[in-house]
Structures are given as structure tokens and as C-alpha cells.
């Protein structure tokens, strides 16, 4: 288990976090400048925190009060950067062999050979880094880190500069490594898709602090803060005042002042009239109602009439901007191409839209 409790002040940026990571793969997600890389650097020992402790399986790597700061070479933490950072003056074989120091030469050769086969690098042993492709370079970097049998593997957006198909293959390689070597991995990314594909557990970092730790489901449907909601594609976030509460019906009415509309949302215990909340609806949770179909009961009061002001094609889906009042647009709606074709919608068309209660998520004010 990795336990990180650290603070680091860089003047214009402060990192302050507490993390306990189990074995397996943990995704550290956050926008650029969130402090993801800095977190990895402190774990690896490349940056010294101002205070706190870092432990790996009970071994103290860093303890400010206890005066412990284990030197980088003794931490046995593998680190792969976005740039493969291969030694340009060494061949693929030499790069992978570089970190293996405590083995007799024949065993060392065997180990390198094993890593080369495992990372699909056979035939490239004698090539220099400038002679191989980006994906191959990153595989060499992974092999080089793994060859030393690290206690922990830190991956800092390792696939960010690779093409999509190459990236997918490398992910599979990574899964295989984790399964075979049982090495715990901390994977940093700012890519939502990558975060979801890789791990069940996601740590969301923003502005040097942890915003949320949770499962994919939690992060996606139950974001604890506005920034988490934004990072994971909740396009419709409204700041609303609680107008009426009906606890017995499990309902409350909120008024979105800056857009001038009311909505009915599920009642939340403890909330009072006059309080402010953020309520969110994912763009794919808003429905466009067909004129000829009866409105289902569970849509309740949240039906809005207005106009589709803009349509943006996004490959496998379409984004529609819906407006009822005076603002630029009120809802961002995302529908599949199939639904888009069957609706025959055009810009400027008047429509009715609706969303279900289950689709609404509340975030307390100030979060």
C-alpha cells in the first residue's frame, strides 16, 4: 500500500494531499497544472515535499519530522514519462539492461531478453532509440523500468503523444504487465476516456488538492464537486435557489435565476427553502420529445419548450444547443447519430425537451 501525506509550496502553486492507494492500478486524473506530475515526483524522490510522509508497504520513503528522505536510487520506484526519455547513446538492449545491476551477466542477459519478448520488441535489440517508432520507444521505456522489478510503477501520461490505435495496444500491454508482475501502478492522465478504460478507482486532482476518490460510476454520475462534474462531461450545471420543498412527495422546486426557469428535482434531506444548490444533468440524459408520442409520467414537471439554436456534429454523436429564454442557450444535449437521424431536427426548430428525476444530481453550494 502506498500512503502519501504531503504538502509542497511552489509559490504560485500549492500541493496538499493525502492519499492511500491499494495494489493494482490507480488512475490519478486531473487537468493540466493540477499537480499530478508533482505528486509522482515526490513519490519517486525527484522533488522533496515541504512536510508530510510517504510510505510504501510500511517502508518510510519520506518523513519530514523524522528527518527521513530516502535517496531516489534506493526507492525502487519505476518512472515512465510522457517522453520516452531513452538513453540516446544506448541500444534498445542496453537501455533495458541499464537498471539491472545486481545480477550475473548471463542472468542479466536472460532478464533483458525476457523483457524484450514480453514487450513485443524482438528484433529491435540492436536498434538505437532514434531508429524506432514512438510506440516502440515507450514500450522500451516500460521494459526498462520493469526490468529492475520496481516496488511501484509511476506512469506520467505515458501514452499521451501516441496515436489512438498504438495507445490501445499499449494499454493492453499494461494490463498484462499488472497481471503478470503484480506491480502496483499509479497512472497519471488528463484524458477521460483513458481514465475510464484503465481503472475502476479514480483519484481526481485539481489545483493541488484531491477533489474526489471513487469508482468510475461515482465520479461519472455522482461528482462531489463542480470541477469533477465539469471534468467528466457534465455540461449542464445550474446554480439554483430552492423555492419550495415538498418532503412528503420527495420533491422540491428550484429556481435558476440567471436563466429564468424553474425545475422540479428530487428532495434532499436537510435542505431548506432559500438555500442554494448546484444541480447537474449530463448532456446525454436530456431527451428530445417527439410530438406524436405521449409524455411519460415519470418526466413530471421538467418539460421545457424552446428552440434548437445550434447543432454540432461530433463524429459518433451530435451536440444540440437548446434555448428557451433569453440566454445564449440553456441546455447542451448530446444524442447519438441514430437518434439524430430519426428526429430529423434542424437548427432553429422548436422542440420540447425533458429530463428524468434520476438524471439530476445535486452538489451543495460551495463545492
Amino acid at each position: 500500500m502506498i500512503e502519501v501525506h504531503i504538502a509542497k509550496d511552489l509559490g504560485n502553486f500549492t500541493l496538499d494531499l493525502s492519499l492511500s492507494l491499494q495494489k493494482g492500478l490507480t488512475v490519478l486524473f486531473g487537468p493540466s497544472g493540477a499537480g499530478k506530475t508533482l505528486t509522482l515526483q515526490t513519490i519517486a524522490g525527484l522533488v522533496e515535499p515541504d512536510s508530510g510522509t510517504i510510505r510504501l508497504d510500511g517502508v518510510v520513503y519520506f518523513d519530514k519530522k523524522g528527518g527521513v528522505n530516502l535517496p531516489i536510487p534506493r526507492r525502487r520506484v519505476g518512472y515512465v514519462f510522457q517522453e520516452p526519455s531513452l538513453f540516446p547513446h544506448m541500444t534498445v538492449f542496453e537501455n533495458i539492461a541499464y537498471g539491472i545491476s545486481d545480477l550475473p551477466s548471463e542472468e542479466k542477459r536472460q532478464r533483458v531478453k525476457h523483457m524484450i519478448e514480453k514487450m513485443r520488441l524482438s528484433g529491435l535489440e540492436k536498434n538505437f532509440p532514434h531508429q524506432i517508432s514512438g510506440g516502440q520507444k515507450q514500450r522500451v521505456a516500460l521494459a526498462r523500468a520493469l526490468a529492475t522489478s520496481p516496488l511501484l510503477l509511476l506512469l506520467d501520461e505515458p501514452f499521451a503523444s501516441l496515436d489512438h490505435p498504438v495507445r490501445e495496444k499499449l494499454r493492453l500491454d499494461l494490463f498484462r504487465i499488472i497481471e503478470e508482475d503484480h506491480v502496483p501502478v499509479v497512472f497519471v492522465t488528463h484524458d477521460v476516456e483513458e481514465a475510464f478504460v484503465l481503472s475502476d478507482e479514480i483519484v481526481v486532482l485539481n489545483d493541488g488538492k484531491i477533489e474526489q476518490v471513487g469508482t468510475k460510476e461515482d465520479i461519472f454520475y455522482r461528482p462531489q464537486t463542480k470541477s469533477v462534474a465539469k471534468f467528466f462531461g457534465v455540461k449542464n450545471i445550474f446554480y439554483a435557489k430552492v423555492a419550495n420543498i415538498h418532503p412528503e412527495e420527495g420533491e422540491m422546486t428550484v429556481y435558476v435565476e440567471n436563466r429564468g426557469f424553474e425545475a422540479s428535482i428530487p428532495y434532499r434531506k436537510g435542505i431548506r427553502e432559500g438555500e442554494w444548490v448546484h444541480f447537474c444533468i449530463r448532456p446525454e440524459e436530456i431527451m428530445i420529445l417527439k410530438e406524436d408520442r405521449p409524455v411519460k409520467r415519470n418526466l413530471r414537471a421538467n418539460i421545457f419548450a424552446g428552440q434548437i439554436v445550434r447543432i454540432v456534429e461530433k463524429g459518433s454523436e451530435h451536440t444540440l444547443f437548446f434555448k428557451q429564454g433569453q440566454s445564449d442557450y440553456d441546455f447542451e444535449i448530446c444524442i447519438s447519430n441514430l437518434a439524430y437521424r430519426s428526429l430529423c431536427i434542424k437548427e432553429g426548430q422548436m422542440v420540447k425537451v425533458a429530463f428524468k428525476w434520476e438524471s439530476i444530481w445535486l452538489i451543495p453550494e460551495g463545492k
Binding site: G45, L46, I72, P73, Y79, S85, Y98, G99, T148
Partner: protein, 221 residues
Amino acid sequence: MEGSILFSLRLSLQVAIAATVLVVLVGTGMSFILARKSFRGKELLDILLTLPLVLPPTVTGYYLILFMGRNGFLGKYLFHWTGWSIMFTWYAAVLASFIVALPLMIKTTRAAIESVDQNLINVSYTLGHGELKTFFKVILPLSKKGMIAGAILSFARAMGEFGATLMVAGNIPGKTTTMPIAIYTSASSGEWSKANMMVVFFTLVSGFFLYIANKLSKKVI
């Protein structure tokens, strides 16, 4: 060729080779410290080491007399314990050439070391290697060209050292008359054919060294 020319050529080569060996050893260490370490007085150290590049060689030589002369700060202890003084020996010529050529080595080598990607150094650390091994296996091979360029420039500079050498080693025929000093002597006594020969030789050799150094350092930077 005259015996005195051959002697001065041999002496100049001998001095330049000895000075370059010292320059490479000290210069590499100093460059590493200046490029990779931060400490108080670092810039002052850099200035002190670079000064001989811009000072008149006679001033550098004067300082060397102050330090290493029979009554100098260090020289007096040396004389006290051994009864020997470095002044007016070929060792003094080596010392003068070393001090004057050192900045050239440090300038090129420091730049070469600083241009090594920090990520590569960090990778080496995370792969379990300490500073020393990282220096020899990563930093040194990757800044090799800059260092060779620095060594060649230093060698050329050491070969051509005149002012500081004259101050500390003097002009003792058959003992400390290096080629640049021999050229001076020939010119001042009107032995033009002798001077011409040495001047042409020097120009060609120095030009060749510059060409090699440029070729190497362009690839580094």
C-alpha cells in the same frame, strides 16, 4: 631544421599535452559542479575560473608569481619544505598554460553538461544508479563531443601560451623556450626565416584544431 626549433617544438607539445591532461581532469570536475550543483559563491567561482580568458596573460602571470613564486603565498611553503621552486622550470609553463586554457574547457563542457536532458538523469536515478554512475554512464557520454571540443581548444591555447609563460617560466634557451617564445626571440633578433617557419607551422596547426573543435561543438549545441 635547427636544433633550437625542434627543442621548442618538443617543449611546446610537452607543455601543451601536460596542461591539457590537467585541464581535462580539473575542467570536467569543475564543469560538472558548475552545471549541476547549486551553492553559495557559484557565480564567483565561475568568474574566477573564467578571468584568465579576458585578463592580459601578463596579469595572469603576475598572479601566478604572487602565488607560486619563491616568496609567494603557496610557493614559499613549497620552497621551505622542498628547497625547490616551480619558477623558471617547464612545470611553470605547464601551470601557466593550464590556468589560461582552463576557461575554454569549462565554457564548452559546462554548456554540454547543461544541455543533457534532465529527464535522462532522473531516469538513471530511478533505475537505481547514484550520481557517480549516472555521471559516467549518462552525462559523460552525452556531453563527450563538447568536452572533446573543449579539450582541443584548450590544447591549441596551451600550445600558443606566451605572456603568462614568459612571466613564470622565463626564456631560458634549451630549458623553457617554448615555440611562441622562440618566435618572439627570433623576431626581435631579426632571424626572419626561422620565425617564418614557426609562424606558418603555428597558423596551420591552430587552424586545424579550430576546425576540429567547431565540427564537434556544432553537433553538441
